[in-house]
């Protein structure tokens, strides 16, 4: 039975809006909707360039006010909204041509029922009370000729809006390769397991990698080999953490590459223990350190692969290795 693991990835984007979309968003906060002149037409919402020819349209000087009332040109009903939709109850997505515009914009119409929707119907914006210069300052459109405001009207912005935030967040369910689970399970018994390729390369791979990238062979338990738990630091990096979302480190920390004794195997990007950043150097002899029972997180502790209960590497007191070629061993 394959195990699945759920991950939620969020990308906090901050986008520049430019002179045209920025002016459009700024106007929204003032309950005005802008289009842009394009030949004989007026495009709303506005773009900087003609989508057909790529010609620049004249920037902020070409903006004109349209609507805010408009006509539904086409629509479809959304019986089960998602968390991304502007309304949390059933609504219509409609192509709305605002008065004075020659192209339609897609937006939500809060009509209560599909029976209330028809081509040619008139709709007006329902503005949010607190507006920030974002497309969702329009809470929705509503049937009729009269714009509405939700609650108290917070008024326009003091400064033009130049950027917008967009938090993309997606939850994924991925299968965990059996090879990865096998290695993590072995780590609970404080075993460091690799897979030796039965193909022509004869190489040993660590971190639960399930495939030989040279011979394109899938690994199974029959390819597992126990590896030494003693090695030498071949290279390292000291990282000064930037406080991006999810970063838990606050002080500079080291990640090292460890060449295991009597093998050709290098473990990349490993944490070190009881080895201050200033003392990390090529050639230091280290031993594996395993989590105590109950302290295992079950998560892969490093970005280099799934090593399970392997916490990191600690100096073992043996003399440093003096080999100028060591530094080249990062793979």
């Amino acid at each position: 039975m394959t195990r699945f693991v759920e991950n939620t990835i969020t990308f906090p984007y901050r986008r520049s809006l430019g002179p045209v979309i920025g002016a459009f968003m700024t106007a929204l906060a003032d309950k005005r909707i802008l289009g842009i002149r394009n030949g004989d037409g007026v495009m709303c919402p506005p773009l900087e360039w003609d989508p057909a020819t790529g010609a620049e349209l004249g920037g902020a000087d070409a903006l004109v006010e349209v609507g805010p009332v408009g006509t539904v040109e086409s629509w479809t009903w959304v019986p089960e909204p998602t968390e991304q939709h502007p309304l949390d109850h059933p609504f219509a997505f409609a192509l709305i041509r605002l008065d004075g515009a020659t192209t339609p914009m897609l937006y939500a119409v809060d009509a209560g029922s599909p029976d209330a929707m028809s081509d040619g119907m008139r709709v007006a914006p329902r503005w949010k009370g607190e507006r920030v210069g974002h497309i969702t300052d329009i809470a929705s459109f509503v049937p009729g000729e009269e714009p509405e405001v939700e609650g108290d009207d917070g008024g326009p912005l003091a400064e033009p809006v130049e950027r917008m935030d967009y938090l993309a967040s997606i939850t994924y369910n991925n299968p965990v390769p059996p090879s990865s689970d096998f290695v993590v399970d072995a780590s609970r018994e404080h075993r460091l397991v690799g897979f030796r390729c039965p193909g022509s390369c004869g190489k040993t791979y660590v971190g639960g990698r399930g495939v030989c990238p040279i011979d394109s062979v899938e690994f199974g338990e029959q390819h597992a080999v126990d590896l030494p738990q003693k090695g030498t630091i071949t290279n390292f990096v000291v990282i000064t953490p930037v406080q991006y979302p999810g970063q838990t480190e606050t002080e500079p920390f080291a990640r090292v590459f460890v060449l295991l004794d009597d093998t050709d195997v290098v473990l990349g990007y490993q944490p070190v223990i009881e080895l201050p950043v200033d003392d990390v150097k090529v050639g230091v002899r280290v031993d594996a350190v395993w989590a105590s029972p109950g302290e295992e997180t079950g998560d892969a502790p490093t970005m280099a692969g799934a090593f399970g209960s392997l916490v990191g590497w600690i100096p073992n007191g043996e003399p440093d290795v003096d080999d100028p070629d060591l530094v080249n061993r990062i793979f």
């Binding site: 809006l17 479809t76 969702t136 994924y172 299968p175």
Partner: protein, 341 residues
């Protein structure tokens, strides 16, 4: 555009097409590449160029294609490329690359695990970031608006759409289907594609090498792709000019085709594509069942080309394959395959 040298599809393979696979994308590719090359007597060492089509957004991992390189055996280092597109566009790149004339064999793939995330939430994020993504403008909504435009133009109706579904899936009753609830009026569940995990791999060969490998190569005699504006609200949704231009450029009008494999994920898209491509009743459209039967995103288009190639391998003379990307048939690719006596 006609190729400057003979380039042919000589084989292809697809994984089982399932709602959710236990296999990683890399494992899918590892197996399907082997399945594509082994019947031809080829090994990975014989492959001069690979191009993989996949999508990080679907996989949920930045640079996911780097892991997929494990499936091609990239040692000693190989010529490799990647497109964040359906494998049909990977095929286009390989077709261009082979025209340089210095290499003989290329492998292209398309792969995706749609079950990894929720497509209804992922695809809106790929839309216009200022006006559309923030309101969750989803593909079903745009498809419904296009279906309405086609119905208004007399190109489709709900019954004809249900008939496309029954024929493609090989099951269902039109009258019963038309009693179902709307998911997005006028679209019902049967008008929508399934969610499918899967991958496909295809082998291309040039000139004499193609003829050595198989008895009847499927020669690519025309290949073109064109795109339209990203925002469907700014397009005439009852037409698909990029399809028409790509088909003309690929030489569709030069001779009749017996089979057309169209990437129509929604029932009404097939009706529009038939109209724009001028396909008559004598053309077998989507004998494979098309994207309505299985829709492995990033491989669906490559599978269309594979099924069209199967028609040639089986003795057919000329077939059309179509792939698409973006909402409401935004970007379209047309590939013409021919056999020779």
């Amino acid at each position: 555009m006609a190729p400057s040298t003979d380039i042919a599809v000589v084989g292809w393979a697809q994984t089982p097409m399932v709602r959710r696979t236990d296999l990683s994308e890399t494992a899918l590719l590892l197996r399907v590449i082997t399945d594509a090359i082994e019947p031809l007597g080829l090994t990975r060492a014989d492959i001069d160029f690979t191009c993989l089509g996949s999508c990080d957004y679907i996989t949920g991992q930045a640079f996911s294609f780097v892991q997929n390189l494990d499936a091609i055996g990239a040692w000693p280092p190989k010529r490799d490329s990647h497109v964040e597109m359906d494998g049909a566009w990977a095929l286009y790149e390989a077709w261009l690359r082979l025209q340089e004339g210095d290499i003989d064999i290329a492998v292209v793939t398309g792969s995706g695990r749609s079950s990894t995330g929720d497509p209804a939430l992922i695809y809106p994020m790929e839309m216009d970031p200022y006006y559309l993504a923030p309101i969750g403008a989803d593909p079903m909504t745009f498809a419904a608006l296009q279906a309405r435009a086609l119905i208004a133009a007399g190109i489709a109706d709900e019954r004809a759409m249900a008939e496309v579904s029954v024929r493609s899936r090989g099951k269902g009753d039109v009258d019963e289907l038309l009693e179902g609830d709307y998911v997005r009026e006028p679209l019902r569940r049967h008008d929508l594609p399934p969610i499918t995990d899967g991958a496909a791999a295809m082998v291309l060969a040039t000139g004499d090498r193609a003829r050595q490998l198989v008895e009847r190569p499927a020669y690519i005699t025309g290949f073109d792709h064109r795109t339209e504006c990203h925002n469907p609200a700014l397009r005439a949704l009852d037409d698909a000019p990029s399809v028409r231009i790509a088909a003309e450029a690929a030489g569709l009008g030069d001779a009749p085709v017996e089979v057309a494999e169209l990437q129509a994920a929604f029932t009404h898209e097939e009706l529009l594509l038939r109209r724009v491509l001028g396909l008559g009743e004598d053309v077998a459209v989507n004998p494979s069942g098309g994207a309505l039967r299985s829709n492995p995103i990033m491989a669906t288009g490559l599978c269309r080309i594979g099924h069209a190639a199967d028609h040639i391998f089986g003795g057919g003379n000329r077939a059309l394959a179509h792939s698409t990307s973006g909402p409401c048939l935004q970007q379209n690719l047309v590939c013409i395959l021919e056999g020779r006596s």
